[in-house]
């Protein structure tokens, strides 16, 4: 596309692309923006290096290779800030630049947003279902090795307390945590040997895995080895609610009243909610988190919504579609609240925005201006924003059942 547009003289036309979803994944009440910080890092690093140009050489003509050799994105990006909730039709990113500049961002932006936002949306439902109990991200083994690091980051934005992926700690500053596996117990001649080895190395505050053989016996051994200050025990199988209750009673009887109980084993938001009344102190979540709990992608798209015509005038454009919501033109977007401060609508319009209403706030913030990243922020800022943004939603956002989006999209 870039090569043909360069030759046709249209590559330099000023364009506006929009990143949005026509709808939320089926049944979901709200979406969660995640990946913004990763997009900004990737945009800064996005160049065509000599190895890439050598690979492209047989595919492209001379002027195109020359264009790419010196290319850096030099346009503007406005977008929803990371952690913000969104709904159908929310213009999550508005990218402005020449066609040649903006069109090559499509796969990069969509890949990061479709993945990270899918994980964050699932994570947000899980942390909501968990109430104040911490969720630990443990899904790295069930997804691509790099997606795992991004998933840990997105889960943290959506309220997870920590991750077992050390690389997410190294690269993104996500707090890390972990426990031992059954292999560690099986390695040793007895469960007691394994517990002694772990406590000697990690201290009594560690988390001992107690379901390799017999749970009740393992709990007795654990407290005998670590003492009543044992940090936690982990359950990874069986009926977690009933077992947690039995283990709590046993721990209390042994004087280990402060020892926490962490549960794992194919948890999702529904299983977490079902354990609300059980004496559980934390949830380790794996597969269902990193696969988006039924929705591994968000169906976000990147569409040209306006471009200069031959006279240099910016014109709205749109594909002719049946049944697809496709509105041309550069968008603005606001969240509208009712008098009680509950968010009720996403107001999306084109052209000049009217003055901001009393119960409204603007959603688009500058992320990149003239190719320079201006929207970078600490990951904790995104995490705090998500907590605030989610807290503003109507009470129906807390329903885990399938239903309609809680924010109505108003096009003006």
């Amino acid at each position: 596309m870039v090569q043909a547009a360069l030759a046709a003289g249209t590559a330099s036309r000023r364009c506006v692309f929009e990143l949005f979803g026509r709808r939320l994944p089926e049944g979901r009440r709200y979406g969660v923006v995640a990946g913004t910080g990763r997009v900004l890092d990737a945009l800064e690093d996005f160049t065509f290096d000599p190895a890439t140009l050598a690979f492209l050489e047989p595919l492209l003509d001379g002027p195109t290779l020359e264009h790419l050799a010196g290319w850096r994105f030099s346009g503007d990006v406005h977008g929803y800030a990371e952690g913000e909730v969104y709904t159908a039709g929310s213009p999550l990113m508005v990218v402005e630049g020449t066609f040649a500049d903006a069109v090559v961002l499509e796969t990069l932006l969509l890949s990061i947003y479709n993945h990270d936002s899918a994980i964050a949306a699932a994570a947000s439902r899980m942390t909501m279902a968990a109430g104040g109990r911490p969720c630990i991200e443990m899904g790295a083994r069930r997804t691509h090795e790099e997606a795992a690091v991004a998933a840990a980051r997105a889960a943290y934005v959506a309220g997870f307390a920590s991750t077992s992926v050390l690389a997410a700690g190294l690269r993104h500053g996500v707090p890390t945590a972990g426990t031992s596996a059954h292999a560690f117990t099986l390695l040793h001649d007895t469960e007691e040997d394994a517990f002694r080895a772990q406590v000697a190395s990690q201290g009594a505050g560690t988390t001992l895995l107690v379901d390799t053989y017999d749970v009740a016996e393992a709990v007795r051994t654990a407290v005998a080895v670590a003492g009543p200050d044992l940090g936690a025990v982990r359950l990874d199988s069986g009926d977690l609610g009933a077992t947690a209750a039995a283990v709590r009673a046993e721990l209390d009887a042994l004087g280990a009243t402060g020892t926490r109980i962490t549960v794992t084993s194919d948890l999702d938001e529904f299983a977490i909610a079902a354990l609300a009344a059980a004496p559980v102190d934390g949830y380790g979540v794996g597969t269902q988190l990193v696969t988006g709990s039924g929705h591994p992608t968000c169906a976000l798209v990147y569409k040209l919504v306006a471009r200069e015509d031959a006279d240099g005038v910016l014109q709205p454009v749109a594909k002719r579609s049946t049944g697809k919501t496709m509105v041309g033109g550069r968008k603005w977007a606001r969240r509208r609240y009712d008098a009680d401060g509950t968010a009720v609508a996403e107001v999306v319009g084109t052209g000049d925005a009217p003055p901001l209403g009393e119960h409204e706030r603007d959603l688009l913030v500058p992320l990149v201006l003239g190719g320079e990243v201006v929207g970078r922020e600490p990951l904790d800022a995104a995490r705090e924003r998500h907590a605030r943004s989610r807290a503003e939603l109507p009470i129906d956002a807390q329903k885990l059942s399938r239903g309609e989006p809680v924010l109505v999209t108003e096009r003006v």
Copy 2:
């Protein structure tokens, strides 16, 4: 775990870990091994660099940091060759080494295998449904940016003809292909301008996207611009079967009898099969491929199955489980055929394997010996192996409906 085992003197115990799935994803008839080549590359690169060690420094003790600083995997890995089909209980990888060596591979091996094999399993169903028609991988925008490259590779192993991910061409030698987007048509003042620009740049053999405005008119314009030697047209919306029939008739009437029709638009194996009778020449598949068509992960696990005891004798070990198939001991595995050469069973055993039967073949091949990679092969070898291995399966493997695995697992 490594730190505690080093201190306890158990880190050097010889161990056997096994990578396998307790079951196939629900309803699937067979699995497809993919990611083996990526695992071998990753194993060779797996060291703890100074930045990583600096990050780990506050978490680990001196002896552990020292151990990791010089660490390279020095054990053995045997496994199913890439592209091979598998079933429940197939020992896809058998890793032997010290505990400290083998335990740190868990996340790396499982991440790659759970992702790549999930994509390959979906891709195999799609290429089978497509019959001889080529499938093009186009899903990068709907998954993590690095997972996208691995997905393109896995899809190629399972019979896809090409990918739109140029990075998969650069890194893995997967053939690349692509078409233009609606944005390219919308960029230009008229559809004819867009087609002229594309044909001028790419030649008449290019693929023109004909559903931005009116399909029938676009097809007329396309042939008028490119001539009857136009390579292909792409349809990305509407009723693909009916539209393809109308476009085929129109192309033939215009003399463009050799122009192919490529269809895209949320295809999965079922939609591909439903188009079998339509005049379609190729399928572009995106979202459903990169998300594993309902099964984004394979639920493969990595378990300790044997380890030295205090006397240096290798002992089978297994967690005590209810309802989980968990067999201790180092496995061997063979595929058994009936007299007609149809594969019927996976024979999995422990201990010394009996002599190979007339209608059997061994499935485990050496991949890494003493830390040295010995199982590397060209990607096309894996692709050809998959085609052969799939062709041996019973006819029920071709059913897209949910059902039982076609290979029975026999434990001996």
